[in-house]
Amino acid sequence: MMRSASARQQSVRIRGGGTKLSWGRPTDLPDIEVSTEGLDQIVEHNEGDLTAVLQAGTPLARVQEALAEADQMVALDPPLGETGGATIGGVVSTADSGPLRHRYGAARDVILGITVVLSDGKIAKAGGKVIKNVAGYDLAKLFTGSYGTLGLIVEVVMRLHPRSRETMTAVGGSDDPRALGDAASVVAHSPFGPECLDVWWAEGQGEVLARFGGAAPEAAAKEVAKLMERAGLETRMVADDDALWERQRARQRSSDDPIVRVSGLAAELPRVVRSAEEVGASLVGRAGLGLAWLTLAGGDGREVVSGIEKLRRSLHPFPCVVFDAPQAVREKVDVWGEAQALSLTRRVKARFDPDGICNPGIFVGGI
């Protein structure tokens, strides 16, 4: 299919679960849409080796369900992964992530190997099926987050982690962004190592959440709750905490309001909260990693565009990327903002997709 598209110079868009179709720059309608729906097999689950080979179109929820039988998981919990039909290929190609990122890293950190179809139809693989391997270039990382602009991901090998049977979340609330920032910082630097460390802020108040798993979640959660209290937060402990974390994930997405993802620094959380307030946005974030997703109310109006621009100015030089925005907004702002090493980036694109048929126009710099 790719070969014939290439011969005819037809543009190709790749579609997985269709949960992120509004991401990236607005593009012309592609000549061909390739669906990964038929690539939906869990090819291998190597329980003892903590690896799984997955076809790109496999819904993440189905993967997790199968792995859970062995008390294992792919440590990726992006929004719409559990309920919305997001596929492993879509999550990898957009590098989407969720709260588990605090402990386990992003897709780039748990991907071990990849098989891709390049624009000329050639099938290539990189990496391997073992959790440690340095042979050859790490093309799995190159394709992770490349939005289908370099070729079609058909199969990935993922590293697995044990799934915690019991969890406990320490929650601390406050109406003072500085107190939330202090608490998050103390927890992030504590030796207790939570699995997830999140924050949210909306309408003048917010919470820090620290989730623990492993053999003794309660003891660690109690210690961390004490740290939060000392930072001036009002704390509670939640044992049945799945809903709490599903809500955190849900706050990263929006059906009609634009989301601005801020790549900031952990210690700057209070500043990011203030900037969010200035434009009337709510916030959810990975408190230990400096990542925050801001939801700007107001749909596709002019205020939204100026709100995005204002955020970019006040948070400079932190990268601010726009997601879930209506077409009208995406036409007025560059959703990606400024990109680094653009000429090198263009050379990479040109080598992998010389005819420019793979998802043209969607990526940074109009790639």
């Binding site: 080796d49 982690h161 993802r261 903002g337 050379r347």
Partner: protein, 507 residues
């Protein structure tokens, strides 16, 4: 400590012979330019000075550069690389030279960029858990700079001397990577001088910069995509508690089964290592760490986390040791004992000199569950070749380091030892593993790349290489098994002179 001497082989001998004729006169104009950039004292052209740099940790490859230059800043590196680009002269960047795959072996007619003067820690930003360093800061210095509250997890055994630049090039692992990951999981930003002299910044202290993950592809690219002049690293808080416990077993298979049970129980130790009988003998001779000599294998497990977590998990691990027939166990009572237990493991390669005058260090990876059958194959090969093979094993991630013991004074033994080591790594690949887990491909293993990757896979690698370095001046002749040209993209087809001569083929 006697210096262990590594193997020579036909391939290496060819290099050694070539060396005699290799002090070629490099373009005098280029040398002058290098002197103008870095100063007279930092440009070396004398044979005796260049010998220092003729090999890296894999000493059987030797090839001095035509000229070595020691830049003192990013700008100097940029100007040197630019001068090489204009003169179309290949170059190799080098740190401490502890690599074990010949990745830092100079190109004989080329320039060696020795980065040892770029050794400053530029910033320690503990609030954000980041450090920014120049490439020749040592691995250990990072942990020192952020301790005792924080540490930098990737810890190759060479960490006291090996540099971050080298760790980035090789994507170094270490003892703690089963739980904490590799260098690639800790590099968040890089300043890179590309082979045309352009200086690019990719990533930073922040995560998720928009664009391709160029940080991710650069780490582990073995010096072939450019040279890193600044590295931003993530550091992590020290755990509240550690618990180190050794289980001794009659056989390495039993120890392997215990590892399977530990992983199966959902336990993720900070480190999990196996040493076999021969390795224990060697390390005990040197470190006197108190390992018994009458056991078949030692399994070292280190847990970390909260006190309660360590306590609960260590009871689980002890029960698993018992269930798998441990003959005795040892639990570190304090930090000193913990350090002693690890001292033996970290000294494993060096201590092998006590067992054998010569040895060959192999680095292969298997899916961990195939351990028993691979060990059987290694035993069989060991018998077939008549060489002892010691085994040290990062048990959690399936990374084997068989050490082939031989005596190079006996004619033909070196070649046969290297052949045996090669067959071990092929067995790893056949079991679904990899030709290298942490030492890299470099010069040493490029001929094995075709055992792991197809022509199409290698062609995809070449696309990346050509995007970064179309003239292939950065560390040429490493990683990729056969030299290939990049060609122009896009644009009309023109035959390269080397292509016309039939020396290289186009993709």
């Amino acid at each position: 400590m006697p210096a262990p001497i590594t193997a020579t082989s036909d391939r290496c001998l060819a290099l050694v012979e070539r060396r005699v004729a290799s002090f070629v006169v490099i373009d005098a104009g280029l040398v002058e330019r290098l002197r103008a950039i870095s100063g007279h004292t930092h440009v070396l052209t004398d044979e005796h000075e260049l010998r220092t740099y003729e090999s890296d940790g894999l000493r059987h490859y030797r090839s001095p550069p035509a000229v070595a230059v020691l830049p003192g800043s990013t700008e100097e590196v940029r100007d040197i690389v630019r001068a090489c680009h204009e003169a179309k002269v290949p170059w190799v960047a080098r740190g401490a030279g502890t690599g074990l795959s010949g990745g830092a072996i100079p190109v004989e007619d080329g320039v060696l960029i020795v980065l040892t003067r770029l050794n400053r820690i530029l910033e320690v930003d503990l609030d954000n858990q980041r450090v920014v360093v120049e490439p020749c800061v040592t691995n250990t210095a990072i942990s020192k700079a952020v301790g005792p509250t924080h540490f930098y997890p990737p810890d190759p055994s060479s960490q006291i001397v090996s540099t971050i630049g080298g760790n980035v090039a090789e994507n170094s692992g270490g003892l703690h990577c089963f739980k904490y990951g590799f260098t690639t999981n800790y590099v968040t930003g890089l300043e890179i001088v590309l082979s045309d002299g352009e200086v690019v910044t990719v990533g930073g202290k922040e995560l998720d910069h928009p664009g391709y993950d160029l940080v991710g592809v650069f780490v582990g690219s073995e010096g072939t995509l450019g040279v890193a002049t600044k590295v931003t690293l993530r550091v992590t808080p020290e755990a509240a508690a550690h618990q180190t416990m050794v289980g001794y077993f009659d056989s390495i298979e039993q120890a392997g089964r215990a590892v399977t049970d530990i992983v199966g129980a959902g336990i993720v130790p900070a480190a999990i290592e196996i040493m076999d009988k021969l390795t224990i003998e060697a390390t005990e001779h040197w470190t006197h760490a108190g390992y018994p000599l009458d056991v078949g294998a030692a399994l070292i497990v280190e847990l970390d986390g909260s006190e309660a977590e360590c306590e609960a998990r260590s009871a689980d691990v002890m029960a698993i040791y018992e269930r798998n027939g441990t003959t005795s166990t040892r639990v570190a009572q304090d930090d000193d004992e913990r350090a002693l237990i690890w001292k033996a493991r970290k000294a494993a390669f060096a201590a092998m000199g006590y067992v054998s005058p010569y040895y060959y260090v192999q680095d292969g990876v298997i899916p961990r569950t195939r351990l028993a059958e691979i060990l059987e194959q290694i035993d069989g090969l060991s018998e077939e070749y008549g060489f002892k093979v010691a085994n040290v094993f990062h048990a959690g991630d399936g990374n084997l380091h068989p050490l082939v013991c031989f005596d190079a004074r006996n004619p033909g033994e070196s070649e046969r030892a290297e052949e045996l080591a090669g067959r071990i790594v092929l067995a790893c690949v056949e079991a679904g593993g990899s030709i290298t887990g942490e030492h890299g491909v470099g010069l040493d293993k490029k001929h094995l790349m075709t055992d792991m990757f197809s022509e199409h896979d290698l062609a995809a690698f070449q696309r990346l290489r050509c995007a970064f370095d179309p003239d292939q001046l950065a560390n040429p002749g490493k990683v990729m098994p056969t030299p290939r040209l990049c060609g122009e993209v896009p644009g009309p087809y023109r035959k390269h002179p080397l292509e016309q001569a039939g020396v290289a083929e186009r993709l």
